[in-house]
């Protein structure tokens, strides 16, 4: 059954005020288009969980969508500080909860596996344990050793971007895969955005690449260029220049407001946003093809 929806319908239907949202992707495949649609629909009081909040959550916090962030690395990757989230935390305006990367993704892994918590080897994270009572210890019943535990994370909604999916949400993705798969399996509802919608036969031609099966997906949205300024392997490059520009934009509330006005509220959807970026940016982010060798699944 087709799960195709427009992105605005999917966000209206599946993201509610107060939800715990996990927009997945480590540097790669960050679903900016969905973040912007959440801003446009003026969702409020969200708990925004992401290992690396990145600019997507900086923008959503700036737009007033969030009451809390859960993270493990809050920086502008390769540039410096994530000014808006950082400022809001320093002023005491935003609740936060933090882990190490491994702690954060172990929470998702437990959630994805349907387990109540995940044990981890000791990490000497005593200061993190003091800072976050969710990080606890139990005795391994087999060896008698202490292990660290983190509770399962089951987001109300996960947003996952992929290179291609069929209308049922069977999705092919490639490149570094961050925590996409864990986020999709852990969440109660999954919104998939895809560079391309393909027929089921394309998916069936290479099932090992189906890292997210349609059975965990609720909505499939065709949103080309959904990741900018993040990247989609093989489709377009990361806009490192914009990550640098954001460092300047995010220095003052006025310039952030102007930016949101122009690039989020001022455009209807991602197609209009991409168009507005203009041919120079399109050309700069273009990547040359490099195809993998085909594999032979055999005809049985």
């Amino acid at each position: 059954m087709s799960k195709l929806l427009s992105l605005s319908e999917a966000i209206a239907r599946y993201v509610h005020d107060g939800d715990l949202v996990y927009a997945s992707g480590f540097t790669h495949l960050i679903p900016f288009a969905a973040g912007h649609e959440i801003i446009r629909q003026r969702k409020r009081d969200l708990i925004l969980a992401r290992a690396t909040p990145d600019l997507i959550y900086d923008q959503m916090v700036a737009a007033g969508c969030a009451r809390k962030v859960i993270f493990s690395y809050m920086g502008n990757p390769g540039v410096g500080s994530l000014r808006i989230v950082r400022g809001a935390i320093e002023r005491g305006e935003l609740e936060w909860e933090e882990y190490s990367h491994f702690g954060m993704i172990s929470r998702l892994r437990a959630g994805a596996a349907g387990l109540p918590f995940m044990p981890m080897n000791p990490t000497a994270a005593t200061d993190l344990e003091r800072a976050n009572p969710n990080i606890r210890r139990v005795t391994d019943p087999y060896s008698g050793r202490e292990v660290i535990t983190v509770p399962a994370l089951n987001p109300d909604v996960a947003i996952v971007h992929v290179q291609r999916a069929d209308p049922n949400g069977n999705a092919h993705l490639w490149g570094i895969i961050g925590e996409q798969r864990e986020a999709a399996f852990a969440a109660k509802r999954v919104i998939l955005t895809a560079e391309e919608i393909v027929d089921e036969a394309t998916i069936r031609s290479d099932p090992n690449r189906t890292l997210i099966p349609g059975l965990v997906v609720d909505a499939v949205c065709h949103v080309p260029y959904a990741c900018h300024p993040s990247y989609a392997q093989g489709y377009y490059d990361r806009d490192n220049q914009f990550y640098l520009e954001w460092d300047t934009i995010s220095r003052s509330p006025e310039s952030v407001r102007e930016w949101l006005e122009e690039w989020v509220y001022g455009v209807k959807d991602r197609a209009e946003y991409w168009e507005k970026l203009g041919p120079e940016t399109h050309a700069r982010l273009k990547v040359a093809p490099r195809l993998s060798e085909p594999v032979n699944y055999g005809d049985y």
Partner: protein, 255 residues
Amino acid sequence: MSEKPYTRTELMICVAARLFEDGTTCFIGTGIPMLAAMLAARTTAPHIVPVFEFGGTGAILEELPRAVGEARTWHKGLSALGICDTMEAAQRGFIDYGFLGGAQIDPYGNLNSVVIGDHDHPKARLPGSGGGNDIGSSCWRTIAIMQHQKRRFVPKVDFITTPGYLTGPGAREAAGLPRGSGPIAVVSTLALMDYDPETLRMRLKAVHPGVTVEEVIENTGFDLIIPDEVGVNEPPSAEELRLLREEIDPEGLYI
């Protein structure tokens, strides 16, 4: 081009690059560690397997990655995994070295990248652990690369993000970390440090050319162990400088 005098940052990168052991598997943090890995792969350690925490493994580092999840972190790589895979590989003991940085370091090599001041009411909120805590806990050996300043080399870090030797001998083992693991070196803008095997406190090993022992002491906020013999690091060779300036960071993003 190579006739331009080298900077302390360039020298720091060269000293760090020479510490890579060929054939080993190394976690590479953002920024300076990436440049050091690229230089090592082009000179003394052509067979290292770089691992970037978000999943890139075994890249051929032709172009400088701008972030640890960028496509260039696994360019023509051996595998593109997820962050669970790389972190679990470290937990299983498959990663030999971790190259990382922090805002503060103490005499036992503990690093802080979480907060300056009180955690709940921070004076300055830093990015957080990222993979720092995990890499410092699970990699066999870690090497820190730091700007050498008194406010960064402190007697006690405000928050232990990445464990070094914690409070001294036996503390890592008591915390459940593998015996024989821990920090082995600090490369700074002034010198190369290691750790005294008895006390596990930081010890000056070699100063950069033109830097005095006094200058290192003045810029360190705790008592650094000064051995009878302090070496002097080799300055960058013409070839190291050429690689850094022409191939690795031609846009001058870090150097």
